[in-house]
């Protein structure tokens, strides 16, 4: 009996085109849009690339500055020098082909279009040149014999810093949007959870009214439905996560097993949330649908789907929200998996999520058990 009803329920759900659109296609579309819009954010804004800069030699140019720039280009790979005349250089700067222009004349100047990190690095290069010049002059005044020794040191470029990387995995704050997207996908299960109740409570649908009068136990009809909806929800979520990981090539960490476990628990939370909301009161289906969508969107919003960094903001101002909001818990679980070495925080999030799911499930069953309808 269980398997028969389970099969029917699966078939019925798969044929609901709109439901399938929202739980399978919509996350994939949104994921694709996220990927094309800011998938390259890290590369375009944070990662260090050789900075292209135009170089304009004017009358009275200081030849040693050009030498320094050449060295920076060839040895340090810090800048990419493009010699040009001043008209061409300005054109390049306006077209954003270069980040700045060095004018080497009576004095050395830098022209830029905006004020950002790359421009600061260019200005720092120029400063460095002028500072070294001052330093050598100063040493010349204090102790002229020591100039060769000092210059020797400048050539050696001793490295005073020992660099430590913060994590082994690449970090990208934009990944948070994808975590939030996965959380939303799991929470889309609310509509499925609601469908279960609609097919169960006789005041909500004709199907349920017919079922009440059937010969088998109502609980026996509920379980296969729950299992079928959960199966589809989980499989759809896994599909979109796989799509993000393998087609869109988004790095979601190197622990896919635990990632899918999080999705499993998240899907369960989504289904039971809808199940619980559906169980409350005798409101119409459309009203309950509205509440479900509102709660899902609010939860996703607080998890960082629309505004990145909201998790961090809430952690400082209202940490309680992050402890009870399912989307935030999922986002944080996935984040901890990717960033921290240990599993302490991940386990904390997962336990909270399981507790919430259990409470929702228990609440829903308490609401709908022993419901009887008057025979008229």
């Amino acid at each position: 009996m269980f398997w028969q009803l389970y099969q029917y329920s699966i078939k019925q759900t798969l044929r609901q085109k709109m439901t399938m659109f929202w739980i399978l296609l919509f996350p994939i579309i949104l994921g694709t849009l996220f990927r094309v819009s800011f998938g390259d954010y890290l590369d375009t804004t944070l990662v260090f690339h050789q900075i292209p800069v135009a170089y304009v030699a004017q009358e009275g140019a200081d030849p040693s500055f050009e030498e320094v720039l050449n060295a920076l280009e060839e040895e340090n790979e810090m800048i990419q020098m493009i010699p040009a005349d001043s008209g061409k250089a300005e054109e390049l700067l306006k077209e954003k082909k270069v980040e700045g222009i060095y004018y080497n004349g009576e004095s050395i100047r830098l022209a830029v279009e905006e004020q950002a990190v790359n421009e600061s690095i260019l200005s720092s290069v120029l400063e460095q040149y002028q500072r070294v010049k001052t330093t050598v002059e100063q040493i010349g005044r204090e102790n002229p014999q020591a100039i060769p020794k000092a210059l020797q040191l400048l050539k050696q470029q001793p490295q005073y810093l020992r660099e430590i990387s913060i994590t082994d995995t690449p970090q990208n704050v934009m990944t948070d949007y994808f975590y939030a997207l996965i959380a939303m996908n799991c929470l889309m299960g609310v509509t499925m959870g609601l469908e279960i109740v609609v097919g169960y409570k006789a005041n909500l649908s004709n199907l349920a009214a017919r079922r009440v009068s059937a010969g088998i136990s109502r609980f026996g009809m509920l379980l296969p439905d729950l299992a079928a909806k959960f199966t589809i929800q989980y499989l759809c979520s896994v599909c979109s996560v796989c799509y993000l990981m393998y087609v869109m090539k988004i790095s979601l960490g190197d622990k896919p097993g635990l990632l899918f476990l999080t999705v499993l628990v998240g899907s369960m939370t989504g289904i039971f949330l809808g199940f619980f909301i559906g169980g409350i009161g005798t409101y119409k289906k459309s009203m309950k649908e509205g509440i479900c969508v509102c709660i899902m969107m609010l939860s996703s919003f607080l998890g960082g789907l629309m505004v990145g960094g909201i998790y961090r903001f809430l952690e400082k101002r209202a940490p309680l929200i992050n402890r009870v909001n399912p989307a935030s818990l999922m986002v944080n679980a996935l984040y901890s998996l990717n960033i921290y070495e240990g599993y302490e925080k991940y386990t904390q999030c997962m336990v909270s999520l399981l507790v919430i799911t259990a409470l929702l499930g228990a609440g829903a069953f308490a609401l709908i058990r022993r419901e009887r309808y008057a025979s008229i």
């Binding site: 990190v117 720092s124 330093t135 005073y160």
Partner: protein, 383 residues
């Protein structure tokens, strides 16, 4: 004018959804304009970065180094524990973490300063390249003075003096350094809300008129088919203008000063032209959607994809060049480009290119109307 009246009666049934979108938009644009109140920059100054420092050094070089870094950057305490540091760096609250060991001054003076400082960074980040460069510069200068036989304390002082030299940096054009007015942000997100409002509003009404039984009944009424369609058309035009007016009035109330400039005027025209295009998209959607649920799905698909790909939500500069090429096939791209250009001009004579962008958006509107007509014709033939 029964049909015209019915048009708005049907629309009235969807007022709640439409109002919610308008209110949410209003709230978001107020939030954005209040959070982006930056003052215009006059002179170039290097970006200020956040450095977390733990200075254990018992000598004076550590303190000298920190006070040098402090001139340009924000110095804060190192967050306790590795996880807290990881969190702060992930969310870009700290760009660099520096630990200065207790015997730093001593060993630096002995000439054994190499790799003594511990710098924690996000691998490959530009900000850390900048900070590392600053630290290296200062310490190299200090070591040059030491090598020249200058007393350590005097050497730190001389190094700090040298570091005060600043480069001569200027902006290529004077208005390059000005931040964007709030009006820009108000108009930036309009494509999304227009598309959603038009598809959910206009689309829903047209869907109702296209209902099989209802349209069959209407066709055999005394009112001519042409007059019916003219009335529906008038309803569409009035609704489109109405939505546009609501947002322009909202702009006047919120950004009055901006709206009285040439840029404000052009922004309003830009929004009006985009509303025509959005109406075209809504017309197209109404032809292919089977019911209200599908229309709802389409409002999300068109609204979100046009906004993301067109550079409404995420600046175009952040996208890779190949994506930007695709973006050109989306009307909101031309809206966004026009909105950016509008901020740069001072008079209508300079607006030549902007009119071209307006033209592009109108072309897209025409394309969507035509596509909708095609679908309509094909459906009629198949029916």
């Amino acid at each position: 004018m029964q049909v015209f009246k019915v048009f708005f009666k049907v629309l009235n049934k969807h007022k709640l959804t439409l109002c919610i979108y308008i209110v949410i938009y209003l709230m978001i644009s107020i939030a954005i304009s209040s959070s982006t109140q930056e003052s215009g920059r006059q002179e170039f100054s290097k970006v200020s970065l956040s450095i977390a420092v733990e200075n254990q050094d018992q000598g004076e070089l550590g303190t000298a180094l920190v006070s040098y870094l402090e001139q340009q950057n924000r110095i804060q305490e190192l967050p306790p524990g590795r996880q807290a540091l990881q969190d702060a760096m992930y969310y870009q609250e700290i760009d660099y973490a520096l630990v200065i060991p207790d015997d730093f001054t001593e060993r630096f003076q002995e000439g054994k300063g190499e790799e003594l400082l511990e710098g924690t960074t996000v691998p490959g980040s530009r900000a850390s390249a900048l900070i590392e460069n600053e630290i290296q510069q200062y310490l190299t200068t200090a070591s040059m003075y030491l090598a020249a036989g200058i007393e350590p304390e005097y050497a730190w002082q001389l190094a700090a003096e040298d570091m005060k030299q600043s480069a001569q940096v200027e902006f290529l054009e004077e208005n390059d350094n000005q931040s964007l007015p709030n009006g820009y942000y108000f108009f930036q997100y309009i494509p999304y809300v227009f598309l959603v409002l038009m598809i959910l509003g206009l689309g829903a009404v047209m869907k109702t008129f296209r209902d099989k039984d209802l349209s069959a009944r209407n066709k055999c009424s005394a009112t001519s088919f042409l007059w019916q369609n003219v009335q529906i058309m008038m309803g569409c035009v009035l609704f489109t203008l109405g939505v546009c007016m609501i947002f322009i009035v909202m702009a006047y109330l919120l950004e009055g000063q901006y709206m009285y400039t040439i840029s404000g005027l052009l922004s309003a025209v830009n929004a009006l032209i985009f509303s025509i295009c959005a109406a075209g998209v809504a017309w197209f959607c109404a032809q292919i959607a089977k019911n209200g649920q599908e229309l709802n799905a389409m409002s999300n698909i068109f609204g979100l994809s046009f906004s993301f790909l067109g550079g409404v939500f995420v600046p175009l500069g952040l996208m890779s060049s190949s994506v930007q090429k695709v973006s050109k096939f989306i009307p909101s791209y031309w809206y966004v480009v026009a909105n950016e250009e509008i901020q740069k001009i001072g008079s209508l004579e300079e607006a030549g290119e902007i009119y071209q962008y307006f033209g592009m958006v109108l072309m897209f509107a025409l394309a969507f109307f035509a596509a909708g007509l095609l679908v309509n014709r094909m459906k009629q033939r198949l029916a």
